[in-house]
Assembly symmetry: C2
Homo-oligomer: 196 residues x 2
DNA sequence: CGTTTTTAATTGACTAGTCAATCAACAAAA
DNA sequence: TTTTGTTGATTGACTAGTCAATTAAAAACG
Protein backbone atom coordinates (compact mmCIF):
# COMPACT_ATOMS: atom_id res chain seq x y z
CA UNK A 1 0.00 0.00 0.00
CA UNK A 2 2.74 2.52 0.71
CA UNK A 3 2.94 4.90 -2.25
CA UNK A 4 5.51 7.64 -2.35
CA UNK A 5 4.73 11.35 -2.07
CA UNK A 6 2.14 10.70 0.58
CA UNK A 7 3.28 13.40 2.97
CA UNK A 8 1.41 16.33 1.47
CA UNK A 9 -2.00 14.63 1.02
CA UNK A 10 -1.69 13.07 4.47
CA UNK A 11 -1.02 16.41 6.14
CA UNK A 12 -3.88 17.96 4.22
CA UNK A 13 -6.23 15.14 5.22
CA UNK A 14 -5.23 15.46 8.86
CA UNK A 15 -5.78 19.22 8.90
CA UNK A 16 -9.12 18.79 7.21
CA UNK A 17 -10.14 16.04 9.58
CA UNK A 18 -9.07 18.16 12.54
CA UNK A 19 -11.28 21.07 11.53
CA UNK A 20 -14.24 18.81 10.90
CA UNK A 21 -13.74 16.90 14.12
CA UNK A 22 -13.29 20.03 16.23
CA UNK A 23 -16.36 21.49 14.56
CA UNK A 24 -18.42 18.35 15.03
CA UNK A 25 -17.45 17.83 18.67
CA UNK A 26 -17.63 21.57 19.36
CA UNK A 27 -14.39 21.94 21.22
CA UNK A 28 -10.70 21.17 21.40
CA UNK A 29 -11.24 17.98 23.34
CA UNK A 30 -10.70 15.87 20.28
CA UNK A 31 -8.40 12.89 20.42
CA UNK A 32 -5.65 12.16 17.97
CA UNK A 33 -7.43 8.86 17.41
CA UNK A 34 -10.61 10.56 16.25
CA UNK A 35 -8.73 12.85 13.92
CA UNK A 36 -6.65 10.03 12.48
CA UNK A 37 -9.64 7.77 11.99
CA UNK A 38 -11.54 10.48 10.14
CA UNK A 39 -8.49 11.09 7.98
CA UNK A 40 -8.33 7.38 7.28
CA UNK A 41 -5.08 6.45 8.99
CA UNK A 42 -3.63 5.27 12.29
CA UNK A 43 -2.82 7.50 15.24
CA UNK A 44 0.81 6.57 14.87
CA UNK A 45 0.87 8.05 11.39
CA UNK A 46 -0.63 11.30 12.60
CA UNK A 47 2.15 11.52 15.16
CA UNK A 48 4.66 10.61 12.49
CA UNK A 49 3.71 13.63 10.38
CA UNK A 50 3.03 16.25 13.02
CA UNK A 51 5.08 15.14 16.02
CA UNK A 52 2.46 15.88 18.61
CA UNK A 53 -1.15 16.84 19.07
CA UNK A 54 -0.61 20.55 19.58
CA UNK A 55 1.14 20.88 16.22
CA UNK A 56 -1.83 19.22 14.52
CA UNK A 57 -4.20 21.70 16.12
CA UNK A 58 -1.98 24.66 15.28
CA UNK A 59 -1.69 23.55 11.67
CA UNK A 60 -5.48 23.41 11.44
CA UNK A 61 -5.77 26.84 12.97
CA UNK A 62 -3.18 28.26 10.60
CA UNK A 63 -5.14 26.78 7.71
CA UNK A 64 -8.40 28.46 8.76
CA UNK A 65 -6.71 31.81 9.27
CA UNK A 66 -4.87 31.71 5.97
CA UNK A 67 -8.05 30.73 4.14
CA UNK A 68 -9.72 33.74 5.70
CA UNK A 69 -6.84 36.01 4.75
CA UNK A 70 -6.72 34.74 1.17
CA UNK A 71 -10.41 35.38 0.75
CA UNK A 72 -10.10 38.97 1.92
CA UNK A 73 -7.14 39.58 -0.36
CA UNK A 74 -9.01 38.10 -3.30
CA UNK A 75 -12.04 40.33 -2.81
CA UNK A 76 -9.82 43.32 -2.22
CA UNK A 77 -8.02 42.84 -5.53
CA UNK A 78 -11.24 43.22 -7.43
CA UNK A 79 -12.10 46.82 -6.54
CA UNK A 80 -10.61 50.31 -6.55
CA UNK A 81 -12.15 53.07 -4.44
CA UNK A 82 -11.70 53.18 -0.65
CA UNK A 83 -15.43 52.77 -0.11
CA UNK A 84 -15.58 49.74 -2.38
CA UNK A 85 -12.55 48.28 -0.69
CA UNK A 86 -14.07 48.81 2.75
CA UNK A 87 -17.22 47.02 1.66
CA UNK A 88 -15.14 44.26 0.13
CA UNK A 89 -13.44 43.65 3.50
CA UNK A 90 -16.79 43.53 5.26
CA UNK A 91 -18.28 41.23 2.64
CA UNK A 92 -15.30 38.90 2.76
CA UNK A 93 -15.38 38.81 6.56
CA UNK A 94 -19.00 37.78 6.40
CA UNK A 95 -18.55 35.31 3.58
CA UNK A 96 -20.88 32.33 3.75
CA UNK A 97 -17.94 29.97 3.96
CA UNK A 98 -17.00 31.32 7.41
CA UNK A 99 -20.48 30.52 8.69
CA UNK A 100 -20.40 26.80 8.11
CA UNK A 101 -21.09 25.30 11.55
CA UNK A 102 -17.80 23.40 11.63
CA UNK A 103 -15.77 26.49 10.86
CA UNK A 104 -17.59 28.57 13.45
CA UNK A 105 -17.12 25.94 16.13
CA UNK A 106 -13.47 25.51 15.22
CA UNK A 107 -12.89 29.26 15.27
CA UNK A 108 -14.45 29.57 18.69
CA UNK A 109 -12.44 26.65 20.01
CA UNK A 110 -9.25 28.25 18.72
CA UNK A 111 -10.07 31.43 20.57
CA UNK A 112 -10.13 29.44 23.76
CA UNK A 113 -6.98 27.54 22.97
CA UNK A 114 -5.25 30.86 22.42
CA UNK A 115 -5.53 31.40 26.17
CA UNK A 116 -3.33 28.39 26.80
CA UNK A 117 -1.02 28.26 23.82
CA UNK A 118 1.24 31.23 23.11
CA UNK A 119 1.59 30.16 19.50
CA UNK A 120 -2.18 30.02 19.03
CA UNK A 121 -2.41 33.43 20.67
CA UNK A 122 0.17 34.80 18.28
CA UNK A 123 -1.72 33.47 15.28
CA UNK A 124 -4.99 35.07 16.37
CA UNK A 125 -3.21 38.33 17.07
CA UNK A 126 -1.89 38.36 13.54
CA UNK A 127 -5.40 37.85 12.20
CA UNK A 128 -6.87 40.59 14.38
CA UNK A 129 -4.10 43.01 13.54
CA UNK A 130 -4.40 42.42 9.83
CA UNK A 131 -8.15 42.93 9.85
CA UNK A 132 -7.70 46.09 11.86
CA UNK A 133 -5.01 47.54 9.64
CA UNK A 134 -6.91 46.64 6.48
CA UNK A 135 -9.95 48.48 7.77
CA UNK A 136 -7.89 51.40 9.02
CA UNK A 137 -6.11 51.84 5.71
CA UNK A 138 -9.36 52.41 3.85
CA UNK A 139 -11.06 54.39 6.59
CA UNK A 140 -8.21 56.89 6.82
CA UNK A 141 -9.01 57.87 3.27
CA UNK A 142 -12.65 58.43 4.12
CA UNK A 143 -12.59 60.37 7.38
CA UNK A 144 -10.32 61.93 10.00
CA UNK A 145 -7.74 59.71 11.76
CA UNK A 146 -9.46 59.68 15.15
CA UNK A 147 -12.80 58.60 13.72
CA UNK A 148 -11.10 56.13 11.40
CA UNK A 149 -9.41 54.46 14.38
CA UNK A 150 -12.63 54.28 16.33
CA UNK A 151 -14.51 52.87 13.36
CA UNK A 152 -11.88 50.23 12.74
CA UNK A 153 -12.16 49.08 16.36
CA UNK A 154 -15.93 49.07 16.23
CA UNK A 155 -16.14 47.19 12.93
CA UNK A 156 -13.66 44.57 14.14
CA UNK A 157 -15.68 44.08 17.29
CA UNK A 158 -18.93 43.92 15.35
CA UNK A 159 -17.53 41.24 13.05
CA UNK A 160 -16.22 39.11 15.92
CA UNK A 161 -19.36 39.75 17.96
CA UNK A 162 -21.79 38.72 15.24
CA UNK A 163 -19.66 35.72 14.50
CA UNK A 164 -19.66 34.48 18.07
CA UNK A 165 -23.37 35.20 18.46
CA UNK A 166 -24.08 33.30 15.32
CA UNK A 167 -22.25 30.34 16.80
CA UNK A 168 -24.87 29.66 19.39
CA UNK A 169 -28.05 31.56 18.80
CA UNK A 170 -30.56 30.70 16.20
CA UNK A 171 -32.27 34.06 16.54
CA UNK A 172 -29.03 35.91 15.78
CA UNK A 173 -29.24 38.00 12.60
CA UNK A 174 -28.24 36.20 9.43
CA UNK A 175 -25.49 37.15 7.06
CA UNK A 176 -27.51 39.66 5.04
CA UNK A 177 -28.89 41.44 8.09
CA UNK A 178 -25.39 41.66 9.51
CA UNK A 179 -24.06 43.24 6.34
CA UNK A 180 -26.97 45.70 6.43
CA UNK A 181 -26.04 46.66 9.97
CA UNK A 182 -22.37 47.07 9.11
CA UNK A 183 -23.17 49.20 6.06
CA UNK A 184 -25.65 51.29 8.02
CA UNK A 185 -23.00 51.83 10.67
CA UNK A 186 -20.31 52.99 8.26
CA UNK A 187 -22.76 55.10 6.33
CA UNK A 188 -23.95 56.95 9.42
CA UNK A 189 -20.49 57.40 10.79
CA UNK A 190 -19.16 58.84 7.56
CA UNK A 191 -22.07 61.24 7.10
CA UNK A 192 -20.94 64.45 8.76
CA UNK A 193 -23.39 65.58 11.39
CA UNK A 194 -22.93 68.10 14.21
CA UNK A 195 -19.78 66.78 15.94
CA UNK A 196 -16.43 67.65 14.25
CA UNK B 1 -13.75 18.21 62.43
CA UNK B 2 -17.07 17.74 60.69
CA UNK B 3 -19.20 20.74 61.55
CA UNK B 4 -22.77 20.88 60.42
CA UNK B 5 -24.13 23.37 57.89
CA UNK B 6 -21.11 22.97 55.65
CA UNK B 7 -23.05 22.42 52.47
CA UNK B 8 -23.55 26.02 51.50
CA UNK B 9 -19.97 27.27 52.06
CA UNK B 10 -18.62 24.15 50.38
CA UNK B 11 -20.74 24.66 47.28
CA UNK B 12 -19.75 28.29 47.22
CA UNK B 13 -16.07 27.41 47.55
CA UNK B 14 -16.31 24.85 44.75
CA UNK B 15 -18.01 27.29 42.38
CA UNK B 16 -15.44 29.92 43.21
CA UNK B 17 -12.58 27.49 42.74
CA UNK B 18 -14.04 26.35 39.44
CA UNK B 19 -14.15 29.86 38.02
CA UNK B 20 -10.64 30.59 39.17
CA UNK B 21 -9.31 27.29 37.90
CA UNK B 22 -11.03 27.59 34.52
CA UNK B 23 -9.74 31.15 34.27
CA UNK B 24 -6.21 30.20 35.26
CA UNK B 25 -5.98 27.20 32.95
CA UNK B 26 -7.83 29.05 30.20
CA UNK B 27 -10.29 26.34 29.28
CA UNK B 28 -12.73 23.73 30.42
CA UNK B 29 -10.08 21.04 30.67
CA UNK B 30 -9.90 21.32 34.42
CA UNK B 31 -10.03 18.21 36.57
CA UNK B 32 -12.29 17.72 39.52
CA UNK B 33 -9.10 17.16 41.48
CA UNK B 34 -7.76 20.61 40.65
CA UNK B 35 -11.03 22.27 41.56
CA UNK B 36 -11.36 20.35 44.80
CA UNK B 37 -7.76 21.01 45.84
CA UNK B 38 -8.16 24.74 45.25
CA UNK B 39 -11.39 24.69 47.25
CA UNK B 40 -9.52 22.88 50.05
CA UNK B 41 -11.26 19.53 50.01
CA UNK B 42 -11.12 16.07 48.49
CA UNK B 43 -12.42 15.11 45.06
CA UNK B 44 -14.91 12.79 46.73
CA UNK B 45 -16.47 15.69 48.56
CA UNK B 46 -16.87 17.66 45.36
CA UNK B 47 -18.69 14.70 43.88
CA UNK B 48 -20.72 14.37 47.06
CA UNK B 49 -22.09 17.88 46.69
CA UNK B 50 -22.52 18.20 42.94
CA UNK B 51 -22.91 14.63 41.72
CA UNK B 52 -20.73 14.97 38.67
CA UNK B 53 -18.31 17.25 36.95
CA UNK B 54 -20.75 18.78 34.49
CA UNK B 55 -22.98 20.00 37.29
CA UNK B 56 -20.03 21.72 38.91
CA UNK B 57 -19.23 23.52 35.68
CA UNK B 58 -22.86 24.48 35.09
CA UNK B 59 -23.19 25.82 38.61
CA UNK B 60 -20.14 28.01 38.02
CA UNK B 61 -21.56 29.24 34.74
CA UNK B 62 -24.90 29.98 36.32
CA UNK B 63 -23.09 31.97 38.99
CA UNK B 64 -21.26 34.13 36.49
CA UNK B 65 -24.40 34.80 34.48
CA UNK B 66 -26.48 35.66 37.51
CA UNK B 67 -23.78 38.00 38.80
CA UNK B 68 -23.87 39.75 35.46
CA UNK B 69 -27.65 39.97 35.49
CA UNK B 70 -27.77 41.27 39.04
CA UNK B 71 -25.30 44.00 38.18
CA UNK B 72 -27.35 45.18 35.23
CA UNK B 73 -30.53 45.18 37.30
CA UNK B 74 -28.81 47.14 40.05
CA UNK B 75 -27.59 49.85 37.69
CA UNK B 76 -30.94 49.95 35.97
CA UNK B 77 -32.79 50.60 39.21
CA UNK B 78 -30.86 53.78 39.78
CA UNK B 79 -32.05 55.80 36.77
CA UNK B 80 -35.21 56.95 35.06
CA UNK B 81 -35.14 58.17 31.46
CA UNK B 82 -34.75 55.74 28.53
CA UNK B 83 -31.45 57.31 27.55
CA UNK B 84 -30.08 56.99 31.08
CA UNK B 85 -31.29 53.43 31.26
CA UNK B 86 -29.66 52.59 27.94
CA UNK B 87 -26.37 54.00 29.17
CA UNK B 88 -26.78 52.11 32.43
CA UNK B 89 -27.05 48.82 30.53
CA UNK B 90 -23.95 49.62 28.51
CA UNK B 91 -22.01 50.70 31.60
CA UNK B 92 -23.02 47.59 33.51
CA UNK B 93 -22.10 45.35 30.58
CA UNK B 94 -18.69 46.93 30.54
CA UNK B 95 -18.21 46.89 34.29
CA UNK B 96 -14.63 46.41 35.42
CA UNK B 97 -15.58 43.26 37.28
CA UNK B 98 -16.37 41.47 34.00
CA UNK B 99 -12.89 42.22 32.73
CA UNK B 100 -10.95 40.36 35.38
CA UNK B 101 -8.83 37.88 33.42
CA UNK B 102 -10.31 34.86 35.17
CA UNK B 103 -13.85 35.93 34.41
CA UNK B 104 -13.06 36.65 30.77
CA UNK B 105 -11.37 33.30 30.32
CA UNK B 106 -14.20 31.50 32.06
CA UNK B 107 -16.78 33.31 29.98
CA UNK B 108 -15.02 32.36 26.78
CA UNK B 109 -14.67 28.77 27.89
CA UNK B 110 -18.38 28.63 28.64
CA UNK B 111 -19.16 29.83 25.16
CA UNK B 112 -17.32 26.84 23.82
CA UNK B 113 -18.91 24.42 26.24
CA UNK B 114 -22.29 25.67 25.10
CA UNK B 115 -21.60 23.95 21.79
CA UNK B 116 -21.49 20.59 23.53
CA UNK B 117 -23.85 20.95 26.46
CA UNK B 118 -27.51 21.80 25.76
CA UNK B 119 -27.93 23.12 29.29
CA UNK B 120 -24.95 25.46 28.91
CA UNK B 121 -26.36 26.57 25.58
CA UNK B 122 -29.70 27.30 27.18
CA UNK B 123 -28.07 29.39 29.91
CA UNK B 124 -26.15 31.50 27.41
CA UNK B 125 -29.28 31.96 25.30
CA UNK B 126 -31.08 33.31 28.33
CA UNK B 127 -28.28 35.80 28.91
CA UNK B 128 -28.23 36.91 25.29
CA UNK B 129 -31.98 37.22 25.11
CA UNK B 130 -32.19 39.25 28.29
CA UNK B 131 -29.49 41.65 27.15
CA UNK B 132 -31.23 42.03 23.82
CA UNK B 133 -34.65 42.65 25.27
CA UNK B 134 -33.30 45.07 27.86
CA UNK B 135 -31.69 47.09 25.10
CA UNK B 136 -34.72 46.85 22.85
CA UNK B 137 -37.08 48.03 25.55
CA UNK B 138 -35.21 51.31 25.97
CA UNK B 139 -34.43 51.81 22.30
CA UNK B 140 -38.05 51.49 21.26
CA UNK B 141 -38.72 54.58 23.28
CA UNK B 142 -35.97 56.47 21.51
CA UNK B 143 -36.43 55.63 17.85
CA UNK B 144 -38.57 53.70 15.36
CA UNK B 145 -38.98 49.93 15.86
CA UNK B 146 -36.88 48.88 12.87
CA UNK B 147 -33.93 51.01 13.90
CA UNK B 148 -34.35 49.98 17.52
CA UNK B 149 -34.11 46.32 16.54
CA UNK B 150 -31.04 46.90 14.43
CA UNK B 151 -29.37 48.91 17.17
CA UNK B 152 -30.09 46.25 19.78
CA UNK B 153 -28.46 43.63 17.56
CA UNK B 154 -25.48 45.86 16.89
CA UNK B 155 -24.94 46.84 20.52
CA UNK B 156 -25.15 43.22 21.66
CA UNK B 157 -22.60 42.23 19.05
CA UNK B 158 -20.35 45.14 19.97
CA UNK B 159 -20.41 44.15 23.63
CA UNK B 160 -19.62 40.51 22.95
CA UNK B 161 -17.08 41.45 20.30
CA UNK B 162 -15.14 43.84 22.50
CA UNK B 163 -15.28 41.35 25.31
CA UNK B 164 -13.82 38.54 23.25
CA UNK B 165 -11.21 40.82 21.73
CA UNK B 166 -10.21 41.98 25.16
CA UNK B 167 -9.67 38.37 26.13
CA UNK B 168 -6.65 37.96 23.95
CA UNK B 169 -5.34 41.19 22.62
CA UNK B 170 -3.39 43.66 24.62
CA UNK B 171 -3.90 46.36 22.01
CA UNK B 172 -7.66 46.03 22.22
CA UNK B 173 -9.36 49.23 23.39
CA UNK B 174 -9.80 49.49 27.14
CA UNK B 175 -13.04 49.87 29.01
CA UNK B 176 -13.29 53.64 28.68
CA UNK B 177 -12.56 53.65 24.95
CA UNK B 178 -15.16 50.96 24.47
CA UNK B 179 -17.79 52.97 26.29
CA UNK B 180 -16.88 55.97 24.15
CA UNK B 181 -17.41 53.93 21.02
CA UNK B 182 -20.73 52.56 22.25
CA UNK B 183 -21.97 56.03 23.19
CA UNK B 184 -20.77 57.49 19.91
CA UNK B 185 -22.61 54.72 18.08
CA UNK B 186 -25.93 55.27 19.85
CA UNK B 187 -25.61 59.02 19.59
CA UNK B 188 -25.04 58.95 15.85
CA UNK B 189 -27.77 56.41 15.26
CA UNK B 190 -30.33 58.38 17.20
CA UNK B 191 -29.47 61.68 15.52
CA UNK B 192 -31.84 61.92 12.58
CA UNK B 193 -29.97 62.43 9.34
CA UNK B 194 -31.12 61.96 5.73
CA UNK B 195 -32.53 58.40 5.83
CA UNK B 196 -36.04 58.00 7.28
C1' DC C 1 -28.06 14.88 83.13
C1' DG C 2 -25.76 10.90 80.77
C1' DT C 3 -26.16 7.57 77.19
C1' DT C 4 -27.33 5.81 72.78
C1' DT C 5 -28.69 6.41 68.06
C1' DT C 6 -28.88 8.82 64.02
C1' DT C 7 -27.13 11.70 60.62
C1' DA C 8 -24.00 14.99 58.00
C1' DA C 9 -19.33 15.62 56.67
C1' DT C 10 -15.31 13.77 55.01
C1' DT C 11 -11.71 11.04 53.08
C1' DG C 12 -8.25 7.44 51.19
C1' DA C 13 -8.16 3.85 48.39
C1' DC C 14 -9.93 1.77 44.41
C1' DT C 15 -12.08 0.87 39.69
C1' DA C 16 -12.43 1.26 35.11
C1' DG C 17 -11.49 3.78 31.48
C1' DT C 18 -9.08 7.20 28.25
C1' DC C 19 -5.44 9.18 25.78
C1' DA C 20 -0.88 10.87 23.93
C1' DA C 21 3.13 9.18 22.63
C1' DT C 22 6.50 5.39 21.56
C1' DC C 23 8.34 1.45 19.36
C1' DA C 24 9.35 -2.50 16.93
C1' DA C 25 8.27 -4.43 12.79
C1' DC C 26 6.69 -4.80 8.13
C1' DA C 27 5.81 -3.27 3.09
C1' DA C 28 6.99 -1.22 -0.96
C1' DA C 29 9.47 2.04 -3.77
C1' DA C 30 14.06 3.82 -5.28
C1' DT D 1 19.67 -1.90 0.47
C1' DT D 2 18.33 2.28 2.00
C1' DT D 3 14.51 5.25 2.47
C1' DT D 4 9.65 6.26 3.10
C1' DG D 5 5.17 4.93 4.57
C1' DT D 6 2.50 2.44 7.77
C1' DT D 7 0.53 0.03 11.63
C1' DG D 8 -0.75 -2.86 15.95
C1' DA D 9 0.51 -3.24 20.32
C1' DT D 10 2.09 -1.20 24.36
C1' DT D 11 3.24 2.02 27.94
C1' DG D 12 2.70 5.37 31.38
C1' DA D 13 0.23 9.01 33.02
C1' DC D 14 -4.05 10.80 34.29
C1' DT D 15 -9.19 11.08 35.34
C1' DA D 16 -14.20 10.67 36.70
C1' DG D 17 -16.72 8.51 39.68
C1' DT D 18 -17.57 4.93 43.62
C1' DC D 19 -17.40 3.06 48.16
C1' DA D 20 -16.64 1.61 52.63
C1' DA D 21 -15.00 3.48 56.69
C1' DT D 22 -14.26 7.38 60.07
C1' DT D 23 -15.39 11.39 62.73
C1' DA D 24 -18.12 14.45 65.27
C1' DA D 25 -22.27 16.99 65.84
C1' DA D 26 -27.16 16.62 66.91
C1' DA D 27 -31.17 14.37 68.40
C1' DA D 28 -33.67 11.00 70.90
C1' DC D 29 -34.15 8.62 74.96
C1' DG D 30 -34.24 7.17 79.86
Amino acid sequence: MPKIGMEEPRRRALIDATIHEVGARGGMDVTVGQIARRAGMSTALAHHYFGNKERILLAAMRHILSTFGALVREELARVETPMQRLNAILDASMDRRHFEPETVAAWLAFYVQAQQSPEARRLLRVYALRLHSNLLHELKQLTDPARAARMAQALSALIDGFYIRHALQDQAPDRDDIIDILRDYTCRQLTETGQP
